[in-house]
C-alpha cells in the first residue's frame, strides 16, 4: 500500500490536488473485554467527541479514488464502569483524551450530477496511531470507613506506567457521502468504525484479559481545495 501511495504521489503526469479542512464529530466508545469473572460489574459505552484537521491528497485522473487522507485529531474515547444489582449506586465514568493520527485511503462511487457539482459515496479504509494525553475519573464508591454513604470522587486520572499503554493503534473503516457544490469546497458526512488492535494495557501480567476500544463515530468534514499544484517536466 505504501509503495502504491508513493507511486501515486510521485506521478509527474498527475495534477495532484491538496484539500485541507476540518473534521468534527461525536462518537460512542465501547470497551471490549471479558468481565465474566466479576459479578455485578460491567463496562458500558460512553459518548465522546473529536475534532481535527483533515488533509487530503487527491488525484483528479483517478475519479474513483478520493486520495490519501490524514486527519490529526483530538479524540475522546470514554467508558463507564457500572456496578449492577445491589451495587448499582457505584460507578466510574472514565474520560480518556487522545491525540490521534488516522491515515486512510478514500474510494469513491458516483460522480458529477450537475455542472461543477458532484455527489459521491465514499469508503475510507486505513489505520490510526494514537497517544494518550490525559484522563479523568468521576464516580461513586463505597468504603468500610463510611458504610452509610457512597463516596464521590472526581479527579484527573494518574497514568500508571506499569499498566497503561500510552501509544495505541488500530484500523478504521468508514462509509459516507461527499458533496462538492463547486470545485473549491467538499463536504462529507461519514460513519466511521475505529477498532483498536492494541491492548489498552501493557502486557504486565500473566493471564491478562485484554481491553480494546471500539469507537463508532459520526463525522462531518468541510474541506477546501488548495490551488492546483502543477509539476514541471
Amino acid at each position: 500500500m505504501l509503495g502504491i501511495s508513493t507511486a501515486l504521489l510521485c506521478g509527474n503526469q498527475v495534477n495532484a490536488q491538496w484539500h485541507v479542512g476540518i473534521e468534527t464529530g461525536v462518537n460512542r466508545n465501547y470497551l471490549t473485554t471479558n468481565t465474566s469473572d466479576k459479578p455485578f460489574f460491567e463496562y458500558q459505552p460512553s459518548y465522546g467527541y473529536s475534532g481535527g484537521v483533515a488533509i487530503r491528497y487527491e488525484f483528479p485522473k483517478l475519479s474513483w479514488f478520493g486520495g490519501i487522507q490524514a486527519v490529526p485529531t483530538f479524540v475522546q474515547k470514554n467508558y463507564r464502569i457500572q456496578r449492577t444489582g445491589f451495587y448499582s449506586d457505584m460507578y466510574q465514568q472514565t474520560t480518556n483524551n487522545f491525540v490521534e493520527l488516522p491515515v486512510m485511503a478514500q474510494f469513491r462511487f458516483g460522480g458529477h450530477f450537475k455542472k461543477e457539482q458532484s455527489l459521491y459515496g465514499i469508503l475510507n479504509v486505513g489505520g490510526y496511531g494514537e497517544y494518550w494525553v490525559s484522563g479523568h475519573v468521576k464516580g461513586r464508591t463505597l468504603s468500610p470507613m463510611d458504610l452509610e454513604n457512597y463516596l464521590p470522587f472526581d479527579e484527573p486520572y494518574t497514568f500508571n506506567s506499569t499498566k497503561d499503554r500510552r501509544f495505541q493503534w488500530g484500523g478504521l473503516a468508514g462509509v459516507g457521502v461527499q458533496y462538492s457544490p463547486n470545485k473549491k469546497y467538499v463536504f462529507s458526512l461519514e460513519g466511521r468504525y475505529t477498532p483498536s488492535f492494541s491492548d489498552m494495557q501493557k502486557a504486565y501480567s500473566e493471564n491478562q484479559t485484554p481491553r480494546y476500544n471500539d469507537t463508532y463515530s459520526l463525522l462531518l468534514s468541510v474541506q477546501c481545495q488548495l490551488p492546483v499544484l502543477k509539476h514541471n517536466k
Binding site: 469473572d37 486505513g126 478504521l172 473503516a173 500473566e206
Partner: protein, 418 residues
C-alpha cells in the same frame, strides 16, 4: 522512470487494479486480530486437577489481592515456576503425597506476601515446611504470623496484666465489663481512673474491637459492658479528667465501625483520618481512586482536647493500628507509647463481591482470607507489613510485671501527665 510510474498508475486505474487496491487496503487494516482471553469465575473451577487448583488460586490472588502495587513478590514468576509443578502432580495423580505437595507449593508461593491478614485454610489437615521448620497437623497457614513467630514477636502481654494487675495496682474506680466474644471466649473491657502527679488520667482497655456489638448486645453477665462504656463516655466530658490512655496492647483488631463508635464520641465534626481504595476490575493493578475515610461525630459527642497516649505493642494489629493512626490524625499531639506494631492495616470484607477484592475460595482446595480494602494514613503512608513506630519506644518488661509494675503504662502516664 517517469514512464514506468505512469504505467503503474494506468494499471491501477483499471477495474482490476481498483479492486485489487481496495482488497489490499481492507485486508491490511481489518485483518489484524485481537488476543482473546476468557477468564472464568473463580468458583467455576471444580478442582478436578491440580492444574485447575493452581489456576484458580493464582488467578484469584492475581485479581483479589490488594497489595500488588507495593508487593515485592513477583507473582508472574510464581506462575512460571509453579504451573509446571502442579502439572507434574497431575501426571502422578495416584501418589498419596500429592495433596501435601500441593499445599507445600501454595505455602512457598505466599510465604513472603505483604498482606498481614493473609491466611490459607486448606480443606483438611496437612503438614508443611516453612523456613526450614516443620508445621504439622494444621489446616491454616498465616504467613505474617509465621514471620512474627520466627522473629520472636509472638510474646503477648498476658490478660492478667489488664484484668488483674492494672485494675488492682493502678486504677481507682476500676470497672470491668464482660461479654461473649465473637470467637466464643470471654470478652473483657477495663476502665478506670489513674491518679498520677495530681492529675486524673482516664484509662480504657478491651480485648478486641467489638465495642459497638458488645454495647448493644443482650448481656446477662454480672458485669455488663454497656454501663462501663457509658461511664467512659461520661468521664470524657468530666472536667476533672486531665488525660486519656487507650491501651491497645495485644489488641488484634476487629470491627471497623468501632472507630466511629469510640472516637466519634470525642469529636464534634468529621475528621479525615485515613484513605482507602478497593479494586475495580479483573486486572492485577485495577484500583478505584483513593477516597478519604472520616471519623464521624456521634450523638452526644464532646470535643475532647486533653492529652492522649495510646499504648501499643508488637501484637497491636488491624483496627488497633487504624485507631492509632486515626488518633494521631485527629490529635497531632497524641503519642504512641510502647513497641512497633504488627503492620496489618487492610480491611476484610465478608466476600469479594462488594469490593471486588479480598477473600475467596479456590477450587474447594484452599480458602484464602485476605484484605479487600487497602488503607493508608492521611499522608498516604502505607503501614502494611511495616507497622507503626511509636513516638516513645519501650519494651514490655516481664520481670517488672512480676513486681506489679507495668513499665509501658508507667511511661504512658509520664508522657500524658507532662
Amino acid at each position: 522512470m517517469v514512464t514506468r510510474i505512469n504505467n503503474l498508475i494506468n494499471k491501477i486505474n483499471s477495474r482490476w487494479g481498483r479492486s485489487a487496491l481496495l482488497l489490499l487496503v481492507l485486508s491490511s487494516t481489518l485483518g489484524a486480530c485481537r488476543k482473546e482471553v476468557k477468564p472464568e469465575r473463580l468458583t467455576s473451577y471444580y478442582g478436578r486437577s491440580y492444574t485447575e487448583i493452581f489456576e484458580a488460586f493464582w488467578n484469584g490472588m492475581n485479581t483479589n489481592y490488594m497489595f500488588w502495587d507495593v508487593e515485592t513478590v513477583n507473582w508472574d514468576n510464581m506462575y512460571k515456576t509453579y504451573k509446571p509443578r502442579f502439572e507434574y502432580l497431575d501426571q502422578t495423580k495416584n501418589d498419596p503425597q500429592n495433596p501435601q505437595r500441593a499445599v507445600q507449593f501454595l505455602v512457598d508461593m505466599t510465604k513472603d506476601l505483604a498482606d498481614s491478614h493473609l491466611s490459607l485454610s486448606f480443606n483438611g489437615l496437612t503438614d508443611y515446611m516453612i523456613s526450614g521448620y516443620p508445621v504439622t497437623g494444621t489446616n491454616v497457614f498465616n504467613p505474617s504470623a509465621i514471620r512474627h513467630q520466627l522473629r520472636g514477636d509472638e510474646l503477648y502481654v498476658p490478660r492478667s496484666t489488664f484484668d488483674v494487675i492494672i485494675p488492682k495496682y493502678y486504677l481507682t474506680k476500676a470497672e470491668m465489663g464482660t461479654g461473649t466474644a465473637n470467637d466464643g471466649t470471654v470478652w473483657r473491657i477495663n476502665m478506670g481512673i489513674i491518679p498520677r502527679n495530681n492529675k486524673n488520667i482516664l484509662y480504657l482497655e478491651y480485648k478486641d474491637f467489638e465495642l459497638q456489638s458488645q454495647y448493644y448486645a443482650v448481656n446477662t453477665t454480672a458485669n455488663p459492658v454497656k454501663p462501663v462504656l457509658d461511664n467512659f463516655f461520661r468521664y470524657t466530658k468530666d472536667p476533672s479528667i486531665d488525660g486519656l490512655i487507650l491501651d491497645l496492647r495485644g489488641n488484634p483488631g476487629g470491627s471497623v465501625p468501632d472507630l466511629d463508635f469510640l472516637l466519634g464520641r470525642l469529636v464534634t465534626s468529621p475528621v479525615h483520618v485515613t484513605n482507602t481504595r478497593t479494586r475495580n476490575g479483573n486486572g492485577r493493578l485495577d484500583y478505584t481512586p483513593w477516597v478519604k475515610g472520616y471519623v464521624h461525630p456521634q450523638q452526644g459527642s464532646t470535643d475532647f482536647k486533653k492529652p492522649i497516649v495510646v499504648l501499643v505493642d508488637k501484637n497491636s494489629v488491624s483496627m488497633s493500628e487504624m485507631t492509632s493512626m486515626s488518633i494521631k490524625a485527629i490529635w497531632p499531639n497524641a503519642k504512641l507509647v510502647g513497641e512497633h506494631t504488627w503492620g496489618g492495616t487492610g480491611q476484610i470484607p465478608s466476600s469479594d463481591v462488594k469490593y471486588m477484592g479480598g477473600q475467596f475460595v479456590a477450587a474447594n482446595f484452599v480458602q484464602v482470607y485476605c484484605a479487600g480494602v487497602e488503607l493508608r494514613d492521611v499522608n498516604m503512608v502505607c503501614y502494611e507489613n511495616k507497622g507503626l513506630t511509636p513516638d516513645i519506644q519501650i519494651a514490655y518488661d516481664t520481670t517488672a510485671i512480676k513486681r506489679n509494675i507495668d513499665v509501658q503504662l508507667e511511661k504512658g502516664l509520664e508522657v500524658v501527665t507532662k
